[in-house]
Symmetry: C2
Subunit: 183 residues, 2 copies
């Protein structure tokens, strides 16, 4: 099958907010028919699994206006253009949980929602995190909580961490967490 | 902290496609300031981890126009209004891989992207899947591949399944897959 089976005929940005842009492309499909593909354009985003020196994990209890619920999540945020994913991870740790990390390791990347959105997500494991005062934006309504790593893993495995990318980030770190516990 | 810390002042739908709607709400933040919150409205979606009777897993190699890449994924799709998540899972299995499942079990739910979107995702494990002819839409450009379950799990753990929700779905099924292998 061809490398790129869709042919772009034209492209137009139709909406823009601080956080995303909406692009409508006219495309030709492999069967020859034409259609509109609406793409949500996003900068990348980072998700950070923060471990304290004693191995405990920090989660946030985050109010999500979109779904009208408080969700368990790991610190995360959109990448500011010009800032590297790693630097952004350090910033979000500081802003959301007042954290400074002794080490930061990129675990994986993934596409958040590739059916409609071009966002790439970066998963980091932050180790040796020290907690200070968070520096949150007015839109960020959240609390900081500390759990034994095994408990946080169980919360991800059971679906209690209902934010999908956060659950994925924790589960992707599971092998490292397990190897640390058996040290 | 209050149950709902944001106060909605007004709400307007500003864009609509076949797959989503864009809503702009004027809101009052906890600090008293006002702002605009743009919410992407989506019906729910399903992700299905399909296991053949011999325990092998079916993945799709799916072209994603948004990111211009072929991605490893599990069968998935948006929920058609009025159709239950379970029925939708059966439909997507049939459409995308020509699959009929002897049993379908809901494993978990999650929010795909709750910073901007209200979409809820349902994760299903389909067992005893028999493969026939797929019935794909013209927009669906994909191939069907069969892997040993342990190989598919490894692809999720290593980030090779780069579609985030698909990787999450496979990892959420990992405990069941492990228990089957030790039977």
């Amino acid at each position: 099958m061809s490398k790129n089976p869709y042919q772009k005929l034209s492209s137009q940005r139709v909406w823009q907010t601080r956080w995303m842009a909406l692009r409508e492309d006219q495309i030709k499909l492999p069967d020859g028919s034409q259609g509109t593909y609406t793409v949500i354009e996003r900068p990348g985003a980072v998700w950070i699994v923060p471990l304290l020196s004693d191995g405990q994990m920090v989660l946030i209890w985050n109010y999500r206006y979109t779904v009208g619920k408080w969700l368990w999540e790991v610190p995360a945020g959109s990448i500011v253009p010009g800032i590297s994913p790693e630097e952004m991870a350090h910033r979000e740790l500081s802003e959301e949980i007042g954290g400074t990390a002794a080490s930061l390791k990129q675990i994986s990347t993934f596409y958040t929602w590739p059916g409609q959105c071009n966002e790439i997500g970066y998963i980091f494991l932050a180790q040796g995190v020290k907690l200070g005062e968070p520096h949150r934006e007015p839109t960020e309504v959240m609390e900081r909580h500390v759990f034994p790593a095994e408990k946080a893993l169980e919360m991800a495995r059971s679906g209690k961490v209902a934010d999908g990318p956060s659950a994925l980030a924790i589960l992707m770190c599971a092998p490292i967490l397990a190897s640390k516990q058996s040290d």
